[in-house]
Symmetry: none
Subunit: 248 residues, 2 copies
DNA sequence: GACACGAATAGGTATAGACCAGTAGCTGCA
DNA sequence: TGCAGCTACTGGTCTATACCTATTCGTGTC
């Protein structure tokens, strides 16, 4: 990914642009865990922005747990936590990063369509209402990990109609382009057997065990809590375990 | 509490002093939930400090959840919200009840043994230390649902040595007899294929998909947080789905 | 070789001022 | 009366600068 020009897009605050830039460097593996970032003053010079602005971006990323910093030493890319303290709603890429893996995506299908009765029921919209359906093959370190079919409300995702969804985080686009804030999701997990087509894409034998996950995501959109996304994923069970922490 | 003079104590950063001051006002009930704080510029004047310094203090308190703010409206004392745990640590019987089913149990094995190296590693105890191992077939409405092998620390569960574990809740006995309080557990879920023995007990065909769950339970015992239990369960995937709620 | 010291450099705190962007209430016109 | 638009707030973003403190490492002394 080429460097996003800071100041290039006046619609986003500079500190947000810098955050995204750093996130991209980390997601792409360009900045590996443990690596020291350029110093704050260096970043100011590089991008021609004030130090307080740099600090705002860095502070947010530190709060997110993506970076750590020590006075006198520097700012570093955090080593992925082995265990997430709580059950967090994450994107595939974030999930892989937490596991110390590099996530990548192949877009298999991206289509604007009319909601089927089933989809309409799940998303609580009218039958025939526009939805955006995306099918993606998710890989970790280059090896197939999961097959994912997402269906999103068409009205909310209208700005993404002609967006490249292969190389960008869908959740990031939703938040940045659609004015959506991800809130929470409910997931159901069950075991299954890989079908013919799935098996071929996931590069496993037909009949191999897979973990099927259904997710319904609730977002804040135009001040309202609405169901926005329904995802059906099929994970290779030899490569993926779902981890969750429960409290009494 | 009397107002702490900002600048009075040079040993603490001004923004920290302001944070404490606001916290005190809220704790003392002086500023009730829902009340609007003085505007940032007003706080600058009142305490003779810069707006960026005020903002740093306020931002930290917002991140803490103590305050909320809206552009154009102001900064407000947050209404304390009771957070219900997203995922609850439950016993099998409780889980079934939540699903509207009647859980029952058949005890297959109950044995005091010495910890194998694997078990010792998981429970963080010495190899050869005493453990209590229980294998139970769990049913819902009379139909087999899961096969469960629990391994518990022998020293903690000593009072249960000759207890009837077929008709009593293990978690209840742990709390009532062993002076243990269940705290939380981490679980890992994966898909698998039923083996011969499993299939026979679960009354499914060998090779049927199953959901395998590993649980490590943390308890409070004699004032210490300790790992007490390690459970491996195999659930029929045609009857059981795991449900979890995630937050962003 | 061991250690004290200081320079260079990292992030941490704080200032003062500027302008942008939402919100709400007031004013005055239709 | 109803409402469009103005205005005086609010927090949001950003700059430029200054000095503090912690870390690191090289230098020089003993």
């Amino acid at each position: 990914m080429t460097d996003v020009m800071i100041h290039g897009d006046r619609s986003l605050p500079i500190y947000v642009q810098l955050e995204n830039l750093v996130r991209d460097k980390i997601d792409s593996g360009d900045w590996a865990p443990g690596i020291m970032l350029p110093s704050e003053r260096q970043l100011c010079d590089t991008y021609g922005i004030a130090r307080m602005t740099v600090r705002q971006a860095i502070s947010n990323l530190v709060a997110e747990g993506l970076l750590t910093r020590t006075q006198g030493r520097g700012t570093f890319v955090a080593r992925p936590r082995l265990r997430q303290p709580l059950s967090k709603l994450t994107s595939f890429t974030e999930d892989m990063r937490d596991r110390g893996l590099l996530g990548s995506t192949r877009l298999l299908m991206q289509e604007q369509m009319a909601a089927s009765p089933e989809i309409a029921a799940v998303l609580a919209i009218a039958v025939g209402a526009p939805v955006l359906q995306i099918q993606r093959l998710r890989s970790a370190n280059g090896h197939p990990m999961a097959l994912e079919t997402s269906t999103l409300r068409g009205d909310i995702t209208a700005p993404l109609r002609h967006e490249d969804l292969e190389h960008q985080s869908l959740y990031r686009l939703l938040e940045e382009r659609c004015g959506v804030r991800m809130l929470r999701a409910s997931q159901e997990l069950e075991a299954g057997i890989a079908g013919e087509a799935e098996a071929r894409l996931l590069e496993v034998a037909p009949g191999a065990p897979v973990l099927r996950i259904q997710r319904r995501s609730l977002v804040l959109w135009q001040g309202q809590e609405v169901l926005c996304e329904y995802v059906r994923s099929t994970y290779r069970s030899d490569r993926y375990r779902f981890y969750v922490e429960l409290e009494r």
